[in-house]
Symmetry: C2
Subunit: 211 residues, 2 copies
């Protein structure tokens, strides 16, 4: 599989124009949603959820909220990675209850670490916690982009959108979520000139330092 992964990573690019006539299958979306759920996150807390949007009317409404980047309209599906609007003690305790249930780990082993985390997060500002959760969203994005490449799914990661606008349109406040990253997925259009362009990278010799 060795050279395979690198070839796939070279194949991927930030798709500028999707083929609006081609849709991803349920099975393909299933792989992306499962991969998202399996993403590593710090402490395993998973303070993330992902929206899967496949609705022409809604995608059209996302367009003005996405700096008019056509990908949100033309892609097969638009994924939106969201963070929780707060990571409180209840959230942490809920996670440890799940560990106890799923793994059968005894309470007396879990409690000290649970207390450590609850106290640690209490010390952090809401702003710091939000930044930390956003970083976990980027970690999930990194996983998804690689899984997309492996599965031959085109994608275009986007930071340039109006998060408040998305949150309002998609009713995220009521779901205690905030949108952080947008990822239209589908198939590249044959008319996308960016598909054939040489990938520009600093190069292994420049970005790697060996000790």
């Amino acid at each position: 599989m060795s050279t395979g992964v690198i070839e796939k990573l070279k194949w991927r690019y930030a798709t500028k124009k999707f083929d609006a006539t081609r849709k991803l299958s349920e099975a393909q979306i299933g792989i992306l949603t499962e991969a998202f759920n399996l993403t590593a996150t710090s402490y395993g807390l998973q303070p993330l959820r992902m929206l899967v949007i496949s609705n022409n009317n809604l995608q059209e409404k996302l367009l003005p909220l996405s700096m008019h980047q056509k990908q949100v309209q033309e892609a097969s599906h638009v994924l939106v990675i969201c963070i929780e609007d707060a990571l409180d003690s209840a959230f942490i305790k809920n996670y440890f209850s799940k560990v106890e249930k799923d793994r059968g780990t005894p309470r007396h082993i879990l409690t000290p670490f649970e207390e450590f985390l609850v106290n640690d997060f209490k010390k952090k500002s809401a702003e710091d916690i939000e930044q930390w959760m956003a970083k976990q969203a980027y970690l999930a994005l990194g996983n998804l982009l690689t899984v997309c490449a492996l599965e031959g799914i085109d994608a275009c990661p986007m930071e340039g959108f109006d998060p408040e606008g998305y949150d309002e349109l998609l009713g995220l406040k009521e779901k205690n979520l905030k949108s952080v990253l947008v990822l239209p997925v589908g198939y590249r259009s044959e008319e996308d000139p960016f598909a054939e362009m040489k990938k520009v990278r600093r190069g292994v010799e420049e970005v790697i330092i060996t000790y």
Copy 2:
């Protein structure tokens, strides 16, 4: 390959104990460094470099700087993802020179976007730029973790270390770098009880919302 990716993601876990006798090959490290260089980053700017440490003495010195997590000492290699200590106009212009050279894109097409980015970053605070670069580091980590899983390489992503201590020990200030994430890689020890534990995840039905 479909089910393959998911099976590989299920196989991976945050390795608590590495087999100190087993080393990754040059070819395996080559895949990880190439994958790091190919990671998507915002605007393609790649404000990242990665250290590849494989030196017992140095790894031992990392131990007290890593909350005494034995993985940094016992892993085959320790990868450290770093951000640039500043992303200034020169860095951005250097990137566009590279695009011009590598792709042959005419200057008049590049200049407006180059100017937009230079001005955009001038408006941001050093703190905001640092946070943004750190997010790109997490994106690279997400890619690396998935590539490790695909290649059967064990890994343990770490936020819990002393970045200033790392920067000093590794002479990063002189290289204009700041350490952000640590990733020991190698092979799991047969004695790591965490290897066999059930993975705890919120579950697709909870983390995915369909529109």
